[in-house]
């Protein structure tokens, strides 16, 4: 096991999968010499050439649409969006084309396409470069959705994504790229989709969080421990498919649920989790679940304003106190 960064983990898996399968290639803006804004393909063009590490024009519809077309025609493309916010530029290609092609053509198509990119706050990029948009991709059927929170998960989930014969939207968080952790050296190491992970065991309250909020939930759990509240932290890792069983089992034990994400709270994926838990484990709940997410306004530039829009560690702690009635 080597300790590497989240960005390095992604780069490592792209390289390994490209070595293993020549149908795999990467295309996107500035992926070649720059190696992507966060270095996730740094120097890979030196090994694989610019045919397989392909700089594109600034044309998101073409990047994603060409990915779909190439996937239908036998390649296994990784289409990179520099920021997930730009998915709205090519929304038709994602939601009307990628999501629907296999189904509407009666199962004719196999679409081994990965669309990946980064999102989120923390770098003062303001309204159109700081959003967390993964919930929308859970809302429109037809793509799998992965959100790794650690370097090992980034590696394991990305390998699964590249080898999957379905389109996968892969959400990285810009603030996680420099975080480090152990990643297995094994070039076959992968993590199946639909398996949540319990990041910390606890008995009093269940916190479900993804991406950057996994570490914030763990911070909150540390705080709560000081107050004698034992929090269990669950990271779903993929939203489609979603491992409701692990959350359900945890709630049966704790009787309390807080879901937190950086994505906007209203209709954020946490709402779906709470609905499902309500259906599966209503009589085990001792309190109405709490759902935390970004406020219903665009993300402002000013750092303090940005922080005011997204949930804080204190918000998570307070929510856990509230559902615990103490």
């Amino acid at each position: 096991m080597a300790v590497i960064s989240y960005a390095q983990a992604i780069r490592k898996v792209i390289a390994e999968e490209m070595r293993r399968d020549e149908r795999v290639f990467l295309m996107g803006e500035d992926v070649e010499k720059l190696g992507g804004v966060f270095g996730t393909s740094r120097d890979l063009f030196k090994e694989f050439g610019t045919d397989r590490i392909r700089n594109t024009p600034i044309s998101e519809s073409a990047i994603v649409g060409a990915g779909l077309g190439a996937a239908c025609a036998g390649m296994r493309p990784i289409a990179e969006l520099m920021y997930w916010d730009f998915a709205f530029v090519c929304a038709d290609q994602i939601f009307n084309q990628v999501c629907k092609t296999r189904y509407v053509f009666g199962g004719n198509a196999i679409i081994p396409l990965v669309i990946r990119g980064q999102q989120g706050t923390g770098r003062g990029n303001a309204a159109t470069h700081s959003q967390s948009v993964e919930s929308i991709f859970m809302h429109i059927p037809g793509v799998k959705v992965a959100c790794p929170a650690t370097p090992a998960d980034a590696a394991g989930l990305l390998r699964t994504a590249i080898r999957d014969d379905n389109p996968v939207c892969f959400f990285e968080h810009k603030a996680l790229y420099i975080t480090k952790g152990e990643v297995p050296d094994d070039p076959e190491f992968s993590i199946p989709f639909g398996e949540a992970v319990i990041r910390r065991e606890g008995s009093d309250v269940t916190i479900v969080a993804n991406l950057l909020y996994v570490s914030r939930a763990l911070e909150a759990a540390d705080e709560l421990a000081k107050d004698g509240i034992s929090a269990e932290v669950i990271d779903p890792r993929t939203l489609v498919p979603f491992d409701y069983e692990t959350v359900e089992e945890s709630v049966r034990k704790t009787g309390r649920l807080v879901v937190v994400h950086e994505a906007h709270q209203v209709n954020g994926w946490g709402a779906q989790v709470i609905t499902e838990v309500g259906k599966r484990a209503f009589r085990y709940l001792d309190a109405a679940p709490i759902h935390l997410g970004a406020k219903s306004c665009p993300l402002p530039f000013n750092l303090a304003l940005e922080q005011a829009v997204i949930p804080s560690v204190k918000d998570i702690v307070d929510a856990c106190h509230a559902v615990s009635y103490r």
Partner: protein, 321 residues
């Protein structure tokens, strides 16, 4: 033709932009500015020569590299810098930073952090001007990279068919981030694309104030006559990296040096004014001093301005009367 008054205005505006950008650079290196900051240094002639022919009734849309357009369209340095620093006194209450700055009062419909995002908006502003029978135009500034977005095609086609009073100004600074135009773009001259839309296209030296001024004057006349849009390509070069922090490994430092030394739009304009005997050196020097002082005050203002109050973070999502 550029008369003395316009010449002074253009010169002053270029100086303001230069001072502003270089100050922003310094503040960024001092950690007083954060976020994505894209500097316009080296491209000043385009914004200044074009906006010298606009009034507050004319609109512009701008880009992520928008400080120059913003200042040329009448923004004050102090409010603009305060915005870059995220202060409450900034043009957008500290919400926009560098990439989303706007001052609608001056006809500036905003910077746009989505590459190609401004083209349809400019087209719509021109549509409104036409429907309201206003004798004004809209200028759409965008980069070479943006000309490869679908919005470029959709917007210009629409404006051509509807004969809208909009002038599309492509600032070709040779790179879209780290990618050279030759690698991303199907034509050498982006103005060639005008043919596909049945409108005039023209490529000019974007560092030559007079060339940009004249090309724009023709395009504006055509727009006001009701004949529709024009595509002007201004060939230029950004002196700084794509963003503050760009290692610039994708381009030759010597080429950049050459642009700085031989093609500085401000020195070129000074030389031109001298040759034309239009403005005295003393008058230009006085502008330099005044602009430096204006900038110094702007820094003082921005640095001493208050941070926005988080209690108002949810304001302005909707208009509530």
């Amino acid at each position: 033709m550029i008369d003395e008054k316009k010449a002074l205005w253009i010169y002053k505006t270029m100086k303001e932009i230069r001072e502003f950008e270089e100050t922003a650079w310094t503040l960024f290196t001092e950690n007083k500015l954060r976020g994505s900051v894209h500097l316009y240094t080296g491209q000043e002639a385009v914004a200044a020569a074009i906006c010298s022919q606009l009034t507050d009734e004319d609109y512009i849309t701008s880009t992520h590299r928008g400080h120059g357009h913003c200042i040329a369209k009448g923004a004050r340095l102090d409010f603009a810098l305060a915005e870059l620093m995220g202060k409450a006194t900034g043009y957008c209450k500290g919400r926009s930073g560098s990439m989303h700055i706007a001052d609608f009062n001056k006809g500036n419909l905003g910077a746009n952090a989505i590459v190609g995002g401004g083209l349809p908006i400019a087209t719509g502003a021109a549509l409104a001007q036409k429907m309201q029978k206003k004798n004004h135009v809209t200028v759409c500034f965008f980069g070479d990279g943006a000309s490869n977005q679908g919005t470029f095609h959709e917007s210009i086609n629409l404006a051509s068919v509807w004969k809208l009073p909009v002038i599309y100004v492509c600032e070709n600074n040779e790179f879209g981030m780290t990618v050279p135009v030759s690698q991303s773009t199907s034509v050498r001259n982006i103005s060639d694309r005008a043919k596909g839309y049945g409108i005039p296209g023209e490529t000019v030296d974007g560092n030559d104030v007079e060339a940009v001024f004249d090309a724009f004057a023709r395009a504006k006349e055509r727009a006001l006559r009701g004949d529709g849009p024009t595509l002007i390509e201004c060939k230029t070069y950004r002196w700084r990296g794509h963003w503050t922090g760009d290692p610039e490994t994708y381009r030759d430092r010597e080429v950049t040096e050459e642009w700085r030394e031989k093609r500085d739009p401000i020195s070129l304009f000074r030389t031109c004014l001298k040759a034309r005997n239009l403005v005295s050196d003393a008058a230009l020097d006085a502008v330099d001093t005044a602009v430096a002082e204006e900038m110094r005050k702007a820094v003082e203002f921005a640095e001493s301005s208050p941070e926005p109050d988080a209690a108002h973070v949810m304001d302005d999502v909707f208009y509530e009367g």
